[in-house]
Symmetry: C2
Subunit: 372 residues, 2 copies
């Protein structure tokens, strides 16, 4: 294979696909980026075994193909070399079977490669039930829900995002939970395709990084896989097998207290209360409602404590003292783009729910922590 | 003690002095920042035993003193709390002997402290031979030499920067070496104070961070210590005891080859050659002069190799093949602000010298590496 290619274009594709590679793979060839040069295009493929991505550049102003062939490049060095080159175009050439030559005007580099024929065959499915998202909507869904996906939960279904249709209500319900908090988003869905699928967290996060503004995004779902088509790129993942729990039963209907506050102010107050911790991830902060006052406090034995009053609030119902993990409550609050949020509580042991009057598509649930 | 102080001012001083603290100290009180509230000012002091800093804020618009006293605050949390507060002014108050209260409008925090009376007495010397630098000159000296100071050299004198006067030539000579490379800067010195002193690397680097533009900087040197006065701050260090070697003997006089090149171009070429390494710090690159060509090459067994021709150069003398540590040569080249540099060589085993025709104050020496 010999190609002459715009440096910027190949760098963009290499950076895009290299994120999928997992250093933990037991299949050595999956450490590489497969570059396939065909008559009319070059494709770049990587996979971690579950999630795979393929991206292509067509012949044209940015690409001249002089001879075809496949090569499996093995490491970050090709990216580093190409990044440092200043020429507009570079030449890639396979030499002696196992080497790749990267050539610019006065610069030559020869790198070792892996054996392309060892690369496993990846089937990129193109059949499935189709949904189309605008880029802004899909970005919003991901940013408002994906943080609540479990990372290494024993219940495997919690490591993914549940997408489920409700044809009678014409809704698509997106749910993430790690069993300590739950994020639920509902969007309109005018289609007759029914599904209930669990998409891995890694895949969702990669989609979030790949989306550009103004793209229309096509998602295809079948029994085994979910794939997203995005301009010149297809990214695909196995779906997580298993039945996602009916989370509607987890969300309480009746509350004893409802606190409405300015969301941005509350976020800042909880952030201030969270500083007194060596592990910021697990600061416990306490919300105290009583004596006509609303306070956020924190206490760390060896360091000290903080206390701050919330100034503007609207309260309905009884007094409360509820402690929670500051990271969980901050993630939940930051998911709202609204000026105000409402926190609904039952007591110090029951889940609290966050909603916003200005946006009925989103609902966040956080379990309290027993702090005594 | 009770003070009301501008949040921004105290944060600036706390951040400034906290950099000196070493977590490795065996004196527990040196983990703290000593805050001394006097009738007319507040001072902030830290020390690692060798280097000490004291900074002050005078009463005025930014500071109201309500009662005096000392307090030793122990950790990063006070900085984090103050950083997060949004009020313009905060109140600090010592309570119950061992606590400090940080108060803003609606916010209260109480932190544990250390025992101020345990803090060792630090003598800040104000006597010594004085030199004044413009901020720009001192910044230049530090950036052009300090990288070559050893970090943990067995020969203790190599862990510092040597400042030595030559009264006959009316020069101040600044030298840094870690025994693999050497940086030497000469500036004009019209004064009758003679000295030959070794200043610790940590101190020099702190000075570099403290200098603002347009400050005039007064350095005072006596037999035991060096101190720098900078607006409201004094920073002081023990000098390193011992005799700095006569480095003029290390620098060769006669060379076989002289290569003059565009400095920026050469830096980029060596950076490109340095990418093929898992530890970027120790890439070996080779300069090859021969057959009317000048090339920079690199070779890493498991990864690959690079080769690049230098386009514009002027050469005098014989052919050469010399290998060197890319970090050392890059540090040396980057110290020059000139368009061109000249590399003078003897052979593959002897030190090479870098100078610039446009700037005769600076000279860099780098030892080659035997690469075969």
């Amino acid at each position: 294979m010999i190609i002459n290619i715009k440096r910027e274009s190949i760098l963009e594709e290499l950076l895009k696909v290299s994120r999928i590679i997992s250093q933990k793979t037991l299949i050595p060839s999956l450490l590489g980026i497969l570059i396939e040069v065909k008559k009319d295009k070059v494709t770049f493929t990587t996979s971690d075994g579950d999630t795979s991505i393929k991206s292509e550049i067509l012949i044209g102003n940015n690409l001249v193909i002089k001879s075809i062939g496949n090569i499996l490049i093995k490491n970050k060095f090709i990216i580093e070399v190409i990044r440092k080159i200043e020429d507009e175009f570079i030449t890639l050439e396979a030499v002696e079977g196992s080497l790749i030559k990267i050539k610019a005007h006065n610069f030559d580099s020869v790198l070792n490669t892996l054996t392309a024929s060892d690369y496993p065959h990846l089937a990129f499915e193109t059949e499935g039930k189709e949904i189309t998202f605008t880029s802004n909507l899909l970005k919003e869904i991901i940013s408002q829900t994906s943080f609540a996906i479990g990372e290494k939960e024993k219940r495997i279904v919690f490591n993914g995002l549940n997408l489920k249709t409700d044809l009678t209500k014409q809704e698509l319900i997106i749910t993430a939970t790690d069993s300590f908090r739950l994020s639920s988003k509902k969007i309109k869905y005018h289609n007759s395709n029914e599904f209930d699928v669990i998409i891995p967290g890694k895949f969702i996060n990669e989609i979030g990084k790949l989306i550009n503004d103004n793209d229309d995004i096509i998602m295809k779902i079948n029994e085994k896989s979910v794939s997203v088509l995005l301009n010149n790129t297809i990214i695909q993942s196995k779906i997580i097998e298993g039945k996602y729990p009916d989370t509607t039963k987890v969300i309480p209907d009746n509350f004893n207290t409802s606190l409405t506050v300015n969301n941005r102010e509350l976020i800042k107050i909880i952030e201030r209360a969270s500083v007194l911790s060596n592990e910021a991830m697990t600061t416990i902060v306490t919300l105290k409602i009583g004596n006509q006052k609303v306070k956020i406090t924190s206490f760390t034995q060896e360091i000290g404590n903080t206390e701050e009053e919330i100034q503007d609030y609207k309260i309905e119902g009884s007094d409360q003292i509820i402690s929670f993990n500051s990271k969980y409550i901050l993630d939940a609050l930051k998911a709202f783009k609204t000026r105000e949020v409402t926190i609904k509580m039952i007591d110090e042991a029951k889940p609290l729910i966050i909603v916003a009057q200005e946006d009925d598509t989103l609902q966040q649930l956080v379990l309290p922590i027993r702090s005594y």
